[in-house]
C-alpha cells in the first residue's frame, strides 16, 4: 500500500474535511506581506498556500485556539427571581471541531508545553480534544528562529497529531497520536492509498540540554543577577511579547453582566502589566518594570523547567521580531546561561 497521496488528492481531502471541521492554515496577506492563521471558510482553499506553506511564523499565536481571547467559561443569571440565580452553569454548546494545518514544529510544540500546566484544565483540554494539529516540518528557518536552542527542532513533531511531509510526487500523512489516527480514519477512510503509520511519539523525550542547565542553576542567583535592570531599561512594558508568544499562558477571569445575564470570561493577561500582580490590599509585589521583565524570563527559563521539565519557550522568534524596542530573548538566555 502506498503511503502517499498526490497534490490534487490532498486538496480534495482538505475540502472534504470542511464538512465536519473548521480548517485554519497560514495565509499571507497580499497587502502587508504578513502571515496569519486564517479560517479556510472565509476564502476558498488556496492550493498554493496549502501545498507550499509560506515561510516564517504566522503572526497569529496558536494559543488562540486553546486559550481563546476571551473565552466564555460559564454563564449565570443575576435575576434574583431565578431559582438558579448566581449559580455558575456550564455552556450549552461546544465549539466546533477544528483542523489546524501546516503548523510549524515550534507552534505545535508550544501546545504540548502549555498542556503541562493546563493538564487538569477542562477548557483547555476540551479544546485540545476537538482540535487536530496537522504539522509541517520546516524546510526554511528565519533569522529570528532559535528552536534548536530551546530543545526543539525544525524537524520536530512534538505536539502534532498528524505530520504532513512533502515526498517525491506528493505528500505523506502520518498520524502521531490516537486523535490524529481517528481523524485520518474519519476523513480519509474512502480515500485510496492512505496508510496510517504506526502511532509513535508516546515515549517521553529526554529533557533538552538548556532545561537541564537551567534546572541546575540557583534560583536566587538568577533572580538577583545584575543584568536585569539593563535588560529592562528599554522595555515599555507593553504586552506584545506575551500576547504573540505561543507559550505565555497566563490569564485573568472576570464576570460580565448584561441585563440579567452574566458570563464568566477568561482572557489573556500579561506579566508585563502592573495589574497582573496587584493585590487587593493595594500592595504590588511586582510594582516596578524591572521586576515584571525579570519575571517573564524567569518564568520561562527557571520556574517552568523547575516545575515541569522543559523550558517554556519554543524559539519561534515572535517576541524577537515584534518587540517594539528590540529586547532579544536570545540575548537574555545567554545572560542567564552565563550565571
Amino acid at each position: 500500500m502506498k503511503t502517499q497521496i498526490d497534490r490534487n488528492q490532498l486538496v480534495q481531502w482538505l475540502q472534504h474535511t470542511l464538512d465536519g471541521f473548521e480548517l485554519f492554515y497560514p495565509m499571507k496577506d497580499a497587502q502587508t506581506g504578513v502571515v496569519h492563521l486564517r479560517n479556510a471558510k472565509d476564502t476558498a482553499i488556496d492550493a498554493d498556500s496549502v501545498l507550499k506553506p509560506v515561510p516564517g511564523v504566522p503572526k497569529t499565536s496558536i494559543k488562540t485556539f486553546f486559550m481563546p481571547q476571551p473565552e466564555v467559561i460559564a454563564r449565570f443569571s443575576v435575576n434574583s427571581k431565578d431559582a438558579q440565580a448566581f449559580v455558575l452553569r456550564a455552556l450549552d454548546a461546544q465549539s466546533p471541531r477544528r483542523v489546524l494545518l501546516n503548523i510549524r514544529p515550534c507552534d505545535a510544540r508550544s501546545v504540548a508545553l502549555n498542556a503541562k500546566p493546563y493538564a487538569d484544565d477542562p477548557y483547555f483540554q476540551g479544546l485540545m480534544a476537538r482540535t487536530v494539529i496537522i504539522g509541517r516540518t520546516c524546510t526554511e528557518t528565519c533569522a529570528t528562529c532559535f528552536c534548536e536552542r530551546v530543545g526543539g527542532s525544525p524537524q520536530g513533531t512534538e505536539g502534532m497529531d498528524v505530520v504532513l511531509r512533502e515526498v517525491e510526487d506528493g505528500f505523506s500523512l502520518k498520524a502521531l497520536t490516537q486523535k490524529g489516527a481517528a481523524f485520518l480514519k474519519e476523513t480519509g477512510c474512502d480515500m485510496q492509498g492512505l496508510e496510517l503509520s504506526q502511532i509513535s511519539g508516546d515515549g517521553r523525550p529526554e529533557l533538552p540540554k538548556i532545561a537541564m542547565e537551567m534546572r541546575e542553576k540557583d534560583l536566587l542567583e538568577l533572580y538577583n543577577a545584575p543584568f536585569w535592570p539593563q535588560v529592562a531599561e528599554p522595555c515599555i512594558n507593553c504586552g506584545a511579547c506575551t500576547f504573540l508568544c505561543p507559550t505565555c499562558y497566563c490569564f485573568d477571569i472576570q464576570d460580565e453582566v448584561l441585563g440579567t445575564k452574566g458570563v464568566r470570561l477568561r482572557y489573556w493577561d500579561s506579566c508585563m502589566f502592573p495589574l497582573f500582580t496587584l493585590h487587593a490590599s493595594g500592595h504590588n509585589p511586582r510594582g516596578q518594570k524591572v521586576q515584571r521583565v525579570r519575571n517573564r524570563f524567569m518564568h520561562k527559563f527557571k520556574y517552568f523547567p523547575d516545575r515541569f521539565g522543559p523550558v517554556s519557550c519554543v524559539g519561534c522568534g515572535r517576541c524577537v521580531k515584534d518587540c517594539p524596542v528590540n529586547i532579544d530573548i536570545r540575548e537574555v538566555i545567554s545572560l542567564m546561561q552565563a550565571v
Binding site: T32, K59, P274, V325, D328
Partner: protein
C-alpha cells in the same frame, strides 16, 4: 549607512561622550543598534565609553521623550513618599530630539512631567523615519536580513537576493505628513535644519472625513479588528503617563477586557481623546503596533480638529498652556452631527 547618518552618528557619539565626560549630564538617552535589521534599541549611556554604542539611522522610531520622566526620577536621590523634594540642582539627562520628540518634551514640561532645566537636548532635524512594516510590505513579506541605507535608497538583502527600495516610499505616514521636522526646543543643534514640510498634512484624515458615516464606521471597525490589546501603542506614547490607565482599572471597570468591538474600539477612541491637543504625531504608537494598525489616524484627526478650532498645534510653544488646560471666551464651540443634521452652534 548613508553618509548623512554616519556623520550624525559620529557627532552624537562625540557630543554624548563630551557631556558624560564633563559631568554635565549623568545619563544620555539615545539609540543603540538592534539585534535585527531595521531595529534600534533605546539606550541610556552612563559613561563616556557607553557613548560609542549610540547610533542614528532611519529606524529610530520610538519616541525618546517617553523614557524621560522615569529616567530623570531614577537619577534623583532616593526618598520616601513623605520626604520633601530634594533641594539644589539635580542630575541632568542628555537626549536626542527630532521635531516631534522635542514638542513632546514641551508638552511634558507644560504638564509638569519633565523639568526642562534638567534636559540637555541635542536637536536632530528629522529626515523621516522608516517603518519596518512598510519595508516588509514592499517586499511582499520576504524576510529582510540586512539593510544598507544610502541617502535616498535602502538596499535590502535577504536569502532571496537583493533589492533597492526608495527610502521615501517606506517612510512612515506621520513623517510624510510632517510639517515640523526641526526641534522646537534644543540646547545644541547637530545638523542644518530641514526644509521639508508636507503640503497636505491632513490628506489621510480628509480621505476618511469624506466618507459617509457608515463607511467611516466600517473603516474604524475593520482597521482596529486585529488589535490584540497589548497596549504597545499606549506604552510607547509619551502622553500616556497615568499611574493607572482607565483600561487597567478594575474598580470600577471602565472597559471590558475582550477583543470584541465595543471593548477594543472604546479603548482606542478614549486613548485618542486623552491625547487631544497634546499629540505631536510622532507616530510611535503606529510604529510599535505589532499588528500594523493605523493607530495614529485617530490622534491625527484630533490634531486637525484642535488646529481648526483653537489654532494650536501641540508642543510648539513652551510659554503657553496646552489648549485643553485653559479657557478663553472666544473659544469655538460648534457641534454638528452629519447623520441627524442637528446643530448646536454657539450664538
Amino acid at each position: 549607512m548613508s553618509s548623512k547618518y554616519l556623520e550624525l552618528t559620529q557627532e552624537i557619539r562625540r557630543q554624548a561622550r563630551e557631556l558624560l565626560a564633563s559631568g554635565e549630564v549623568a545619563a544620555f538617552l539615545g539609540f543603540t543598534a538592534g539585534s535585527l535589521s531595521m531595529t534600534t534599541r533605546p539606550f541610556v549611556a552612563r559613561t563616556p565609553e557607553d557613548a560609542e554604542k549610540l547610533v542614528w539611522n532611519s529606524f529610530c522610531v520610538v519616541n525618546l521623550a517617553n523614557y524621560l520622566p522615569a529616567l530623570l526620577k531614577s537619577l534623583e536621590p532616593p526618598r520616601g513618599p513623605k520626604d520633601p523634594p530634594p533641594t539644589g540642582p539635580l542630575p541632568k539627562v542628555g537626549v536626542l530630539a527630532t521635531g516631534c520628540w522635542s514638542r513632546n518634551m514641551v508638552v511634558q514640561a507644560q504638564e509638569n512631567q519633565v523639568d526642562r532645566s534638567r534636559l540637555v537636548i541635542l536637536g536632530v532635524p528629522s529626515r523621516g523615519m522608516v517603518d519596518r512594516k512598510n519595508v516588509v510590505a514592499a517586499l511582499k513579506g520576504k524576510e529582510v536580513l540586512d539593510v544598507v541605507e544610502d541617502d535616498h535608497v535602502l538596499r535590502v538583502k535577504g536569502k532571496w537576493g537583493e533589492e533597492e527600495i526608495s527610502r521615501w516610499s517606506v517612510v512612515r505616514d506621520n513623517c510624510q505628513s510632517c510639517t515640523h521636522p526641526n526641534p522646537v526646543i534644543y540646547d545644541r543643534m547637530l545638523d542644518t535644519p530641514s526644509e521639508r514640510a508636507s503640503q497636505a498634512p491632513f490628506a489621510q484624515i480628509e480621505a476618511i472625513e469624506a466618507m459617509s458615516a457608515n463607511e467611516r464606521w466600517q473603516w474604524f471597525t475593520q482597521e482596529f479588528s486585529s488589535c490584540i490589546r497589548c497596549y504597545a501603542c499606549r506604552n510607547a506614547c509619551p502622553l500616556c503617563y497615568c499611574t493607572t490607565c482607565f483600561v487597567d482599572d478594575n474598580r470600577p471597570q471602565w472597559v471590558g477586557k475582550t477583543l470584541k468591538n465595543p471593548d477594543v474600539l472604546t479603548f482606542h477612541i478614549l486613548r485618542a481623546f486623552h491625547c487631544a491637543g497634546r499629540c505631536t504625531d510622532c507616530g510611535a504608537c503606529e510604529s510599535v503596533c505589532p499588528m500594523g494598525i493605523k493607530v495614529r489616524l485617530l490622534t491625527k484627526k484630533l490634531s486637525k480638529d484642535v488646529l481648526t478650532l483653537f489654532g494650536v498645534e501641540a508642543g510648539m510653544d513652551i510659554t503657553i498652556p496646552a489648549p485643553f488646560t485653559t479657557y478663553a471666551p472666544s473659544d469655538q464651540n460648534p457641534f454638528e452631527c452629519d447623520t441627524c443634521s442637528s446643530t448646536n452652534k454657539k450664538e
